[in-house]
Symmetry: C2
Subunit: 341 residues, 2 copies
């Protein structure tokens, strides 16, 4: 399988390392991965015969910016790659724009049009145009892998699309955000205020410098939106979700919940009531009988409720770059099995 | 997709009903199922153009034994079907023989040899000869769906094969048996003895007339064996598993566990320690932080631990004929997607 990788940050670099580490497993799987392009915003590497693993590793580990390495005097860009079309699959890991989905959206569309499979970890284009992308993939007989956009290692998309196949899903709910999980656990364990727990999350690098995206519930909302549109085949927008964060939670609230034997979780939920779809992100108290009771720290979870296959809860999804990368590889293996690339 | 169904008990009958109930969903999926054969031990129905849904429903609901309905004067048997080879997929639901896997094993082998996909709910052949069957499927470019053999609606096989793809799994553990789950919960809730709880399970039709298979841990062991051989690519036998049941548990044990905030679960576990594989079925006490704490009654669960994708716990899997049937349909949909039948 000939792969072009665009976007070469932490996950991209970890991917090139992962396929070296996993080379014997990939061989057993019958999957021969050749990375033909690595492209970032500064330039790219291209070797039509496959970029050597040693060179890959040097790039991955050395932290050097990518150099151009192609005999013609051309800049290696995504457009260059998508014009040559000499790959089977594009890994798209460029930076996210959730308003427009660009430039990833255009790259993905162009790849699919050219019968190139795509695996992406980018929420932007999926939020903006999933239905169009999926249609384009179907018309061109290729696949679009999006597992990494919704919880990384937690197979939340597959959980709905593959594991609940043939059933009608009436509810999707989950604990999708690691930062809020960390903050809530810290408040429970130490009795501290929200601000102190947030500071700790920042100090430990768990929270981003600007945490509002996580703590105000938007990250959860985006993941819920993707799962809803993909699994329930809807075309909802962010404005269809009632979003609430965790910023107003007090130690007093936490203490009262613990007295009741309950824990707060930031839950995203889409439920079908009659013909209406109800979508919200909300702090809820759950007791020890609830499947999300133990979902804290780095764990995430999703629960589906269906007609014929009953309920299914998936809990897990290690955090971090390795896990995100491994979820990209999971999608690639799936595509190689189904499309026999 | 032309389907031949052999074994026409509860699940087989429910299947013919399910595909009528799900006809609009199947159409959306692009999956056109025609049932061409229905065969049981007494005879069979065959219509090369597809057995009409009304006739199917009459058979399913009417409880009539299957009649022969073919213009030539031949008995409709699995061998007859496998000689004509005019199907894409065989659903194999004949009765289980765990010692030999027969006659299902021969039917499945013959189908795969003839490039016919197979979906089975039958543990016997999978326990006996999975590796050979899988190899045969691979060589003939067809698929073998076995989701129904390990927990029905709980996607335990897919959980390992698809959702952990690309990672190395060091541990498989699960709560796989409904009857023991019911008995343990009854003992916890009422403080009754094992014998009283077992009687209740029999009275409610939860336990089989001969419950030893469940309560002595063998059903759990069989499922663990299948998951281990399929997901870890091993060739283990039942004799490799140290099996312990729940028959010696006393109300005193239960009471003590509850005092510690713990619950007993019958857990099957395969774990890799260095190069050794350790397999056991054992009653264990779990506390409320354990992912299996809430797995009781009809629920089942499985947890995988891996190198790159972390931990994944799947909880769910409604019991009963509908759920088992829906898990057969899930495998068929998967095959139709990957093989484009």
């Amino acid at each position: 399988m000939r792969i072009g990788l665009i976007g070469y940050g932490g996950v991209g670099k970890a991917f090139t390392k992962l396929i070296v580490d996993k080379s014997s497993m990939l061989k057993e799987e019958g999957l021969n991965i050749e990375i033909v392009y690595i492209i970032n915003s500064k330039g790219g590497v291209y070797n039509p015969k496959g970029i050597g693993y040693n060179k890959l590793l040097a790039f991955s580990n050395g932290g050097k910016s990518i150099i151009e390495d192609y005999d013609e005097n051309k800049k290696i860009t995504p457009d260059f790659m998508l014009e040559r079309k000499d790959i089977d699959l594009m890994i798209e890991l460029t930076s996210t724009n959730k308003e427009t989905g660009e430039p990833a959206l255009s790259y993905i569309l162009k790849a699919l049009e050219n019968k190139i499979h795509v695996v992406t970890g980018n929420k932007g284009p999926i939020i903006q145009r999933y239905k169009k992308l999926e249609k384009m993939a179907g018309e061109n007989g290729v696949h679009l892998g999006i597992g990494c956009t919704c919880g990384g290692a937690l197979p939340s998309v597959n959980g709905g699309v593959i594991e609940m196949a043939g059933s009608e899903i009436s509810s999707i709910e989950g604990v999708f955000n690691g930062t809020t999980n960390y903050i809530l656990k810290e408040m429970e364990d130490t009795g501290c205020t929200y601000d102190i727990a947030l500071k700790k999350a920042k100090d430990f690098g768990i929270s981003e410098a600007n945490p509002s995206f996580d703590v105000e519930g938007w990250d959860t909302a985006f993941k819920l939106l993707i799962l809803t549109n993909v699994i329930m085949k809807e075309e909802k927008n962010l404005s269809d979700i009632k979003v609430e964060g965790i910023t107003n939670l007090t130690p007093y609230d936490i203490e009262n919940a613990l007295k009741e034997g309950k824990r707060y979780k930031l839950i995203g939920r889409t439920s079908r009531v009659e013909k209406e779809l109800n979508m919200l992100v909300k702090l809820e108290k759950v007791d020890k009988e609830h499947p999300f009771y133990n979902v804290d720290g780095k764990n995430k979870a999703v629960r589906y409720i269906s007609d014929t296959l009953g309920e299914l809860t998936l809990i897990g999804g290690a955090s971090g770059t390795t896990a995100a990368t491994a979820s990209i590889l999971r999608d690639i293996i799936y595509i190689s099995r189904v499309a026999r690339v």
